[in-house]
């Protein structure tokens, strides 16, 4: 048992393993945040601002005397929520739109793929800024904005995959036997397209974190005091020259998290390609 497990692990690409370890740390941090963090992430102590690294404050304290390490640990909850919600929304909407367009064909296909092309013509952050200027800043509006600009990738991928799968003999056979559009979509296309779409999702996860932290950094995401990594850096930026710790550690954590997802994505792709 342990022997076969060991050979399985040894066969997996290194990037996949490293990525999985990083993400496991993030998930643990999000779940066990109250146990791990030494202090309340929102508690201010104006007598202990800009403390250096110590055993009481592993990453020091910020301009309001809040413990940076605790804020980062609680921040994993926001980042994982961003990744899960944005990927779920954009993946489901994009995949359904792309697959249905390819299966129905004709004017519907033209119209859907046109709409996708139009969204794709907008630079991602600019589209997000446009949406946020219309809806107003906020965490959910930010997630919606990121989801909208991530749709085209999934729609195009699903569209191409469905066209390729439609030429497969088993789909033709099913159609000859009288299977309807929905049955073909669900039984044949969806299940076979799942792999590549899953790879795309893991590859997108890192860019979701980057986009969300950029928007929070610009002050358009979460409310100011929230322990979100991008928002923390936006705070820390004002104290550049006084203390680097409040911007150093949140940024380092974002880098590690994005790196984890990127390595995972690359690893999954390598496994799928084999």
């Amino acid at each position: 048992m342990t022997g076969s497990f060991r050979t399985l692990i040894a066969r997996l690409p290194l990037s996949l393993l490293v990525g999985m370890v990083v993400i496991a740390f993030l998930v643990l941090g999000a779940l066990l945040a109250p146990l791990i963090s030494p202090a309340d992430p929102l508690a201010q102590d104006l007598y202990a601002t800009f403390q250096p690294m110590s055993s009481a404050h592993p990453f020091g304290t910020d301009a309001f005397g809040r413990d940076i390490f605790s804020r980062i640990v609680y921040g994993t909850r926001y980042s994982l929520a961003e990744v899960c919600i944005c990927i779920l929304v954009s993946c489901v909407m994009g995949t359904l739109a792309g697959m249905l367009a390819a299966l129905v064909g004709g004017y519907v296909e033209q119209a859907v793929m046109w709409a996708v092309d139009i969204i794709f013509a907008f630079p991602g952050i600019v589209l997000a800024l446009l949406i946020l200027s219309l809806l107003g800043p906020g965490f959910l509006n930010m997630l919606l904005a990121i989801s909208v600009f991530s749709i085209p990738v999934y729609a195009r991928l699903a569209h191409n995959l469905t066209h390729a799968l439609q030429r497969a003999e088993y789909v033709e056979a099913a159609r000859t036997l009288g299977a309807g559009t929905w049955r073909i979509l669900y039984v044949h296309v969806m299940r076979n397209a799942l792999g590549p779409i899953l790879v795309q999702s893991t590859l997108t996860a890192g860019s979701v974190i980057l986009a969300a932290s950029s928007l929070s950094f610009l002050g358009l995401g979460v409310a100011p005091a929230t322990p979100e990594w991008g928002a923390m850096m936006s705070d820390g930026r004002s104290y550049l020259g006084i203390d680097i710790l409040p911007s150093l550690f949140p940024g380092l954590t974002i880098t590690l998290a994005v790196l984890g997802f990127n390595l995972l994505g690359e690893g999954v792709r390598k496994v799928m390609d084999k």
């Binding site: 907008f122 200027s133 930026r237």
Partner: protein
């Protein structure tokens, strides 16, 4: 020019009309009256009505869009609510800064990415290949605003050799363009490597090698020209995210480009400016991708005839 390229050129005005209409409709559905904002809070109802009429806001929506487009075509994008300057003039003032920043970032990215990717492909699985691949995946994961703050801390605060913010001299350009170059650098490097590896396994490369062509000449003269078209495509497709990166980079460094103009406009809910900058951004993405297609059709005989 092949059929696909002609199709793209013909689609351009259609896409612009649809995008501008989408932006126009979205912006017109906002809460708040632009006439009220333009007139100021102290204005009487009569003044607001007069501004309303002078802006043409009392006419049907489709006619308003017609007027907006006709004006936009000759470069008139309305008046900024915050600065009271014509939007076209604001954009013309800020655009050169973004162009300069973007071009220098791409220059850096190409100078590092192409030779780096080339060397990694020439010595596949060698020590440089491993370092390079590791480096590019880290570069692609670093948030640019964090990298910017680290640069500022090191070169402006600690060493005091580079100006912290603004655009006062050429040395002000160094840190912003390096920050913006990170992502395209990683992407161009990885794409060059992948594309080179694909070309190196082709028959004509084996033939050239069998004839006794040296490694340098083989890579630079035989393989590289054939490996470049996908790299050009990726540069074009990536422009959108570089424009997004420019918004963040310009904000951190106080660089007076279009990105900072956009962020200020979003803060002030300055809709004419948001509209104008969005249209310019979309138009640049479409045009650059078109130029990328034209370049590919020039350098790649397969695309020219296929």
């Amino acid at each position: 020019m092949n059929a696909r390229l002609i199709n793209r050129v013909l689609m351009l005005p259609v896409v612009m009309v649809v995008v501008s209409f989408a932006v126009f409709v979205a912006v017109r559905h906002l809460p708040g009256d632009p006439a009220r904002m333009l007139a100021g809070t102290a204005a009487t109802q009569d003044t607001v009505d007069a501004v309303h009429h002078s802006l043409g806001l009392d006419r049907p929506a489709l006619r308003q869009y017609g007027t907006f487009m006709r004006a936009a075509l000759v470069g008139d994008l309305g008046i900024s609510i915050e600065s009271r300057q014509p939007v076209g003039q604001e954009i013309a003032h800020h655009f050169p800064y973004t162009l300069l920043l973007g071009l220098s970032a791409y220059a850096l990215a190409l100078c590092f990415g192409i030779p780096g990717g080339l060397a990694a492909a020439m010595f596949e699985d060698g020590i440089w290949d491993r370092i390079f691949m590791g480096m590019t995946i880290v570069l692609a994961s670093v948030p640019n605003f964090w990298f910017a703050l680290l640069l500022m801390e090191l070169f402006s605060v600690r060493l005091g050799v580079l100006p912290l913010m603004g655009a006062h001299s050429w040395s002000s350009l160094l840190m912003p363009s390096l920050t913006l170059a990170l992502m395209p650098m990683a992407l161009i490097g990885r794409m060059t490597r992948a594309s080179m590896l694909a070309v190196m396994s082709r028959d004509y490369i084996r033939t050239a090698r069998a004839k006794g062509v040296g490694l340098m000449r083989l890579c630079l003269r035989h393989a590289l020209p054939n490996a470049l078209p996908p790299v050009v495509t990726v540069i074009g497709m990536n422009l959108g995210s570089v424009i997004g990166g420019a918004v963040v980079t310009e904000t951190v460094f106080g660089w007076p480009g279009l990105g900072r103009l956009m962020i200020e406009a979003v803060r002030w809910r300055d809709y004419p400016v948001i509209e104008g900058v969005t249209l310019v951004a979309v138009l640049s993405v479409i045009l650059v991708n078109l130029v990328a297609d034209i370049i590919i059709s020039r350098i790649d005989p397969k695309a020219r005839h296929g």
